[in-house]
Symmetry: D2
Subunit: 367 residues, 4 copies
């Protein structure tokens, strides 16, 4: 959960826990479907389990920071892909099925949907787990009941009619967890600061300034690494796998004493939890506010306009609780009818939840 | 929870537990409000706590059964009222304040709203408690967080802006608990059968048939007791207070061997958990179905049409998750604005949740 | 838990819950043992599960009250036995295996030991369940870990070496639950009062006094029923099966108004939770104290000496946390050695826990 | 919990959590005692809370590793002491009372006993917390009940008579947590390996070999730092406060590629969880075994005898569940008598639990 522990101190759980949990839920879901007569071979079962176990493998430390700062033009999904392919070569093709499922090219689409869709075991695990460890009890979902309600119809994953209320609850819980936890203002602030730290460090590195860094972190700071490099140079993936939170936070602690004012201030503030203020506002209002704040910041710390951009900036937090465009959550009625959860009678999940909600914000030091 | 344990065996908790729990939440809510500077005297505090402790005191055993069958024209709220007045006389007026709060005649309306409104501590307790004991984890609400978000504005109970998602979640949880638990088809069936048992017993008693019954139960079976009797005859309240589940279920067990076929069959089926089937359908469809089923029933058990009415009948389950007509849940924004939870931006609680949902059903033996 | 809810209000769970729970643990234990290569046929599995499901079937309402008061010379184990035999006849011998296991006549003794021994699934369930519902968290045992540590050696149930600490903890938890819950002074008081109520009622009934009672309760009050009657008259078992808490508590409520002073006072006190005081003391001290208290009681309520015996009496609470005489808990060491839990190195479960502890007490009204 | 997460993956909780928890329990304990009439001033309350909040402040990362490897002749208690004194100077004496309590020089000894004794809130918190996060449910203690049973007699912390069983349970739980968690063989192995890594790194550093390290870690590797340095050079404490897990584990990851074979192998094994085997045995048996294993190791990896000592070594795990020598847990009986928990009637906590148990072990690579 990246830096959410700065708001919810209990949130110390790891990606390893999440992968184990999602794997467990996949096992439960597959057993349930088999017990309902859905044909799933032993090979398919192993392949689907491997797919969920590896689904997040391309995430770097504090994933979004890495995606936006240390590497360029390459998403964690693409890195996951490359890592699985690499593992597959090492394992002489043992992950062929896993890759087909992961990439939705397998002829039983429900297996992909269990790994990645609006009702996948990934979401079921992270909502439950994050709700538990943050103590935000409202995020609790009934994953065991949802799994009992899963079924397959025409090869697609569906939910039995009597699971409707559990699904509604699942979507509402997700909406709540986003606004209360993942997009909490203090969490947004800390994660933005981390990105700025790495942007600054990378800019300094590229211009030849010396920075304390582990060899793996040095590799990504002093080189421009993007999709092309990942695809052409094995070394990229190797170095990437060596990187974790110890490299990033270990460096940031040392950088608190760096001679570059922008870098050292950002690092000191992050380490000492003196976080930027985040204010939601209309985009139109923001422009004047940004100029005003940048002026203050430039004066206070003697910065150039470009440097002040590390301290005062805007961004958008957005969430679509339910996306009724592609991969819908389908309900299978007792009479054989199939309807999207947002188009059933008395649907709770309708206009409001299906519309993307965007909140524009400005982020800056408290001065 | 009356007969919900026939579906959720864990649901053995009692009204005593609920009253203690609601009392505890009232104490927390009052502390919270006082810590925010809301003026609440010690007398008001005691009065409000007594009001919640006594709020359900007029419920009889398996309350709805009693309300619809053993007594006539008198609701459990009216009986609560009469009992509180009687206690108040005994206590020389010590409950004057409690009665004013209970009846919403006190000049600080938020105290009544804590006892009885769409966001009262009664609902907070029963949703949490019933969710816990049934194991329907989706009904979990964050009562502690909701209480932390309570505030008072112009004498009215309100919720602070940052509590919006918790309130949404509370309303969705309530909707889910109704359809999944309180109005579960098997629960509806059992509770309807219990009503029919008592209707039949009362009809037999009034016509002079001898029935096993404790003295208190006998009082309500062999006399027609309604509001007038409660108001004019102290004996009514006394006998009412002696009645509990032991009287009702103890009699039903004995009635399984009664010579009246309708009574003994209903009792046997209830005791042995051979419950009627409940089918939701459009009201228009139901008429023909009822005639058809009654004919079968008359033939099978040799009954008159009137007797068959105890075995085949229709009713409506209804719920309004949020009622935007009177006592709204108001949100107090940081800028001082007050808006109803159903009229805020991106409101989840809008048309769907504010509209009453009714489900018509038919109930009959499985033949 | 009979009347333990008078001290621990949450303790409303039922024998049905316990039987389901013990059945579940039996299923887990059998799976575990099979996975370790212990030979268990499908028939044996069903037989063992039936044995645990039925192990408590001969308990009457508030079991000890019934054993000591309503029936004579017949234990609940004997009634369980008779009921299983009766069911077995009805089911054409389908319970033959179950009866052999239950009576420890089956050639695989570990199956009986799972049903009834110092480490049976019965104890595992009731300790966990009672600890949960009373809130006495110290009674928590790790039933899942204990089950994972079970094994079979020479046909006997054993525990693997690394389970030693869990077993110690299990025995200490049991000791604690006895003194803190089952033998809690207020619980002892209430349960003794219930026994006295039934003794008095039976004495009155036998001497021809009329008492309100359901037909089943009447059968046991107005007749002397013992082992001989159970064995010779089918009616006994039939009536016994009709009896439950509703009969007993329903009658006691009515008896609060009986003309017999002893009966009505006992019933009023029990119903209104004005319980006798229990004081632990040396047996030698008690004699004088009893005489003194009886004198007060006789004077206060105008009673004969025999009648005063219902209000002032002595008894002994006793517990042996671990009995090292017969059916020991054996540990199987990695080197093949087998040693009783009380004779291993550094054994916690030794002299103290293996010695029966008895506490003599006197019980009387607070006057 | 240092490296216990290698066995119990959930154990990711931090010293910050523990300090907050112990602080909370201290608040509860002080409230309880005040409600019983024990005189505690507001200043004493703040001082005691500060003492528990700071009680572990001198622990370094993976504390035992640091104590035995990075620094010499100085315990974490002494460092805590120095840090508190330093804070006290900074705060102009605001921690005077805290220091008196911490050092047991305050005239109300029970305040020190709450911070540090056999029944302090430190133990109550860590047993509960570690039990929760490891999932070893048997370690659960009833801290809330124990706190309710606390009292003060002649200035000393005592437990009321009816708390005896909870205290017994507390001591047994502690015994179990030690053998099952803190002294678990795999945990012992990993923590020993970490110590060996740091010993080797320090030996290399002292002899002038270059090692990747953060500035703070470098300070402790390349200098000999002991009590004298801590007392005489402010810089020591400053550098010490900068050290945390990121420095240690960040370095170990890089050292996996170091040219020193001993260092790189130890680091690779630790990082890849290829842990040494721990075997408990009699000390007498061990000698021959060590020689034999060292020979194998020397041959396999071409090491000198001194180098092989990093791979094959012995140590002792020891625990005294209850120490009846000094600071006893005293029970205050209703009649005013005071007796140590190990000398009451039917004491569970007697010989066995009061005797220190030592287990000698040998640790070596699996070859």
């Amino acid at each position: 959960m990246a830096l959410a522990h700065l708001v919810y101190p209990g949130a110390m759980h790891t990606r390893f826990h999440h992968s184990m949990g999602a794997y467990h839920l996949m096992s439960c879901a597959l057993s349930e479907l088999k017990s309902k007569g859905v044909a799933i071979t032993e090979d398919e079962e192993v392949a689907a389990k491997m797919a969920i176990l590896l689904h997040d493998i391309g995430h770097g430390p504090y994933s979004h920071a890495l995606e936006h700062a240390l590497v360029e033009d390459v998403s964690h999904e693409e890195i996951s892909q490359l890592l699985m392919q690499s593992l597959n070569r090492e394992m002489n093709g043992a992950l062929n099925g896993t890759l087909e499922i992961f990439n939705d090219r397998y002829h039983k689409p429900f297996l992909h949907q269990l790994v990645s869709s609006q009702l996948d075991v990934d979401r079921m695990d992270y909502l439950s787990r994050d709700s538990f460890y943050t103590g935000v009890s409202e995020g609790v979902i009934s994953y065991d009941r949802i799994i009992k309600m899963l079924t397959v119809h025409n090869g697609e994953l569906m939910v039995e009619e009597k699971g409707i209320y559990s699904i509604e609850k699942f979507i509402v819980a997700r909406r709540l967890m986003y606004w209360q936890v993942y997009l909490h203002k203090t969490v947004l602030s800390a994660e933005n600061m981390l990105v700025k730290v790495l942007h600054r460090a990378k800019a300094l590195a590229i211009s030849g300034v010396e920075l304390f860094a582990s060899p793996a972190l040095r590799y990504f700071l002093y080189n421009r690494i993007g999709r092309k490099e990942f695809e052409n140079d094995e070394e990229c993936l190797l170095q990437f796998c060596l990187l974790d939170d110890y490299d990033i936070m270990g460096a940031i602690k040392v950088w608190t004493g760096h001679t570059d004012k922008v870098l050292s201030l950002l690092c000191q503030w992050l380490v000492n939890r003196q976080l930027f203020k985040v204010t939601f506002m209309e985009e139109a209002e923001a422009e004047g506010k940004v100029t005003e704040l940048k002026d203050k910041v430039k004066k206070r710390w003697g910065l150039t306009d470009e440097e002040a951009g590390y301290f005062v900036f805007t961004d958008t937090a957005s969430l679509r609780a339910y996306d009724d465009h592609d991969e819908k959550i389908n309900i299978l009625f007792r009479d054989g009818a199939v309807r999207d959860i947002s188009s059933i009678d008395n649907a709770l999940v309708s206009h409001t939840l299906a519309r993307p909600i965007k909140k524009f914000y400005i982020c800056h030091p408290k001065i």
